[in-house]
């Protein structure tokens, strides 16, 4: 059978159609009438224009149920022409601790200030304390009953492989419980005379901005827990000298994302009129699913350390700016001392920052001091092993340092 329909040659409809197709292709002869009319000043319109005038589609402004987010472009009220370099909660410095030192004009001193060192060595603990701390680690890391979907686990060798989704305690909650329980234990040991002079607050925000060698640095961080005290921490006695590391060929602001939308005001979570407003210790959690390098590579040890320093610096700087007595050369009359502890629940990094100057330029004579030791692990593993909660490699060092930090005044 034929695939095409039989053509009815005598079909009148077909002929009409063909006729219209042919006629439609016919180009009208230019009679010169239009040109003549134009010469006489008469406007010529095509029939198309008269019959189907072009209509602009009318845009309807829909208000919607919720406010539209402000567009983040030049029209934003906080848009600045010069970009600032941001240090936030989710980025680390590529150069790690050396870069952080250069950025904050800080010299590194390995080891804690003398009074803390002494406190770590001299403090006597009851015998049961190790057992107690191990129990509270287990109760915060394993025994809490929260069950939420945890971040996806990816195998590096088999990136397309979908592992079963793990449910458990979220990273943030795990750390919150651990720190709360450790502090509760420390406060019990410290006694009322110390604890009334401290206050604990969760989830505080610090915000400040500083100029370093024509670059604007923006700090916008959150502290997961802040211990504030009635009296500021004493200035650390002793003279410390050192040089800033050389980053060449790197610039000190490398890997800090540029931002055009920012405000230059300073925010410190407690008003200065309140008695217990001095920063004492700041806790920050390190969650590797949130904090990472710009290009997704693993956070190295030195980057981890650098983050601790910058967090401490942001707290001290925002406090110094809040107090408001910063002279023009940036050197503070009364240095501000802040202790900082960064943890991922297992690894603890302790550091003490003394902010001497807010002048970050490379030729500044005064330097800030950063006292720290390499991080310590509270334990090497804490998990269910064949159905039993198990903690391995418990190290009391972290608890001792934490206790010394808390009692430092």
């Amino acid at each position: 059978m034929r695939l095409t329909n039989k053509l009815y040659a005598q079909h009148i409809g077909w002929h009409f159609k063909k006729h219209w197709q042919v006629q439609g292709r016919r180009v009208p002869k230019d009679t010169g009438a239009a040109a003549d009319l134009l010469k006489m000043g008469v406007q010529v319109k095509t029939s198309e224009d008269v019959l189907n005038p072009k209509r602009e589609p009318k845009l309807v402004e829909i208000v919607g149920a919720v406010d539209k987010p402000i567009v983040e472009d030049e029209t934003h009220p906080n848009w600045h022409l010069t970009a600032g370099h941001l240090f936030g909660d989710s980025n680390v410095l590529l150069g790690g601790l050396p870069q952080a030192q250069v950025l904050t004009n800080t010299i590194e001193i390995n080891g804690f200030p003398r009074q803390i060192d002494e406190a770590i060595v001299s403090t006597q603990f009851p015998k049961t304390i190790d057992r107690t701390v191990q129990n509270l680690i287990i109760s915060s890391q394993l025994l809490d009953a929260q069950q939420v979907k945890l971040p996806k686990i990816k195998l590096i060798d088999r990136p397309a492989y979908n592992l079963p989704r793990v449910y458990g305690i979220s990273h943030e909650r795990r750390n919150r419980l651990l720190i709360n329980k450790l502090l509760f234990e420390i406060e019990k040991l410290a006694g009322r005379s110390v604890t009334v002079r401290r206050k604990l607050i969760d989830n505080v925000t610090f915000q400040t901005s500083l100029i370093k060698d024509n670059d604007l640095l923006l700090f916008k961080i959150t502290g997961d827990k802040l211990i504030s005290s009635a009296r500021p921490l004493d200035t650390i006695k002793g003279k410390f000298n050192g040089d800033l590391p050389d980053l060449y060929p790197m610039k000190c602001t490398v890997s800090m994302p540029k931002q055009h939308i920012y405000t230059e005001n300073t925010f410190y979570p407690i008003r200065r009129e309140i008695t217990c407003s001095h920063p004492h210790t700041i806790f920050t959690y390190f969650d590797k699913t949130v904090v990472g390098n710009m290009h997704g590579s693993e956070v190295s040890k030195t980057q981890f350390y650098g983050r601790t320093l910058l967090k401490a610096f942001a707290v001290a700087a925002s406090r110094a700016k809040q107090l408001g007595d910063v002279p023009s050369n940036g050197v503070l009359q009364k240095p501000i001392v802040v202790q900082c502890i960064q943890t991922d629940g297992q690894e603890f990094h302790f550091g003490v920052l003394q902010l001497n100057t807010l002048d970050l330029s490379s030729d500044s004579a005064t330097k800030n001091y950063w006292f720290h030791r390499p991080s310590v692990d509270l334990f090497t593993e804490c998990s269910y092993q064949t159905g039993r909660p198990n903690i391995g490699g418990y190290n009391s060092e972290a608890f001792r340092i934490l206790n010394a930090f808390y009692n430092n005044s």
Partner: protein, 150 residues
């Protein structure tokens, strides 16, 4: 019924007042047992909880505490002749809670239904009786009309 459509309100629109909107409410007997202070209505699907509440409060002056609504799926039915399926429209059911000391009992509209039916049957019986009597009387003279009598 209104000649205007009731437009969907979005934030920022001028408040539009539609007089005589296409709103209706029908008191229905609940299928499951309910507390005495809950009344069930079938309402037009466009009505919101606020509409139901205002309707009852403003027009009937009823004390309304809370309104919960749901949309019930209409029943399907099979055509007896051709076998195709038809479906009734979905309807919004509003469960109106009144203060807990109030009580509502669904009116028994057909309270004297049996009585009426009895009456009907009685009159039917009487007329049947009459017809039978008439047949009886005319048994002997088939084909003669009814009026042909003494």
């Amino acid at each position: 019924m209104s000649t205007r459509w009731y437009p969907v309100y979005q934030r920022g629109n001028p408040q539009l007042r539609v007089f005589l909107p296409n709103f209706w409410m029908k008191l229905v007997r609940p299928t499951e047992d309910q507390p005495a202070n809950v009344v069930t209505f079938a309402v037009s699907t466009q009505m919101t909880k606020h509409d139901v509440k205002n309707y009852l409060e403003k027009i009937y002056k009823l004390p309304v505490v809370d309104v919960r609504t749901r949309i019930a799926l209409g029943d399907t039915k099979r055509d007896q002749v051709h076998g195709y399926i038809t479906k009734n429209d979905d309807v919004k059911l509003a469960y109106v809670t009144m203060p807990k000391n109030e009580a509502f009992t669904f009116p028994d509209i057909f309270a004297n239904k049996a009585e009426k039916q009895e009456q009907d049957e009685k009159s039917m019986d009487e007329s049947k009786q009459g017809f039978r009597k008439f047949l009886d009387r005319n048994k002997k003279r088939p084909g003669t009309p009814g009026w042909y009598s003494i």
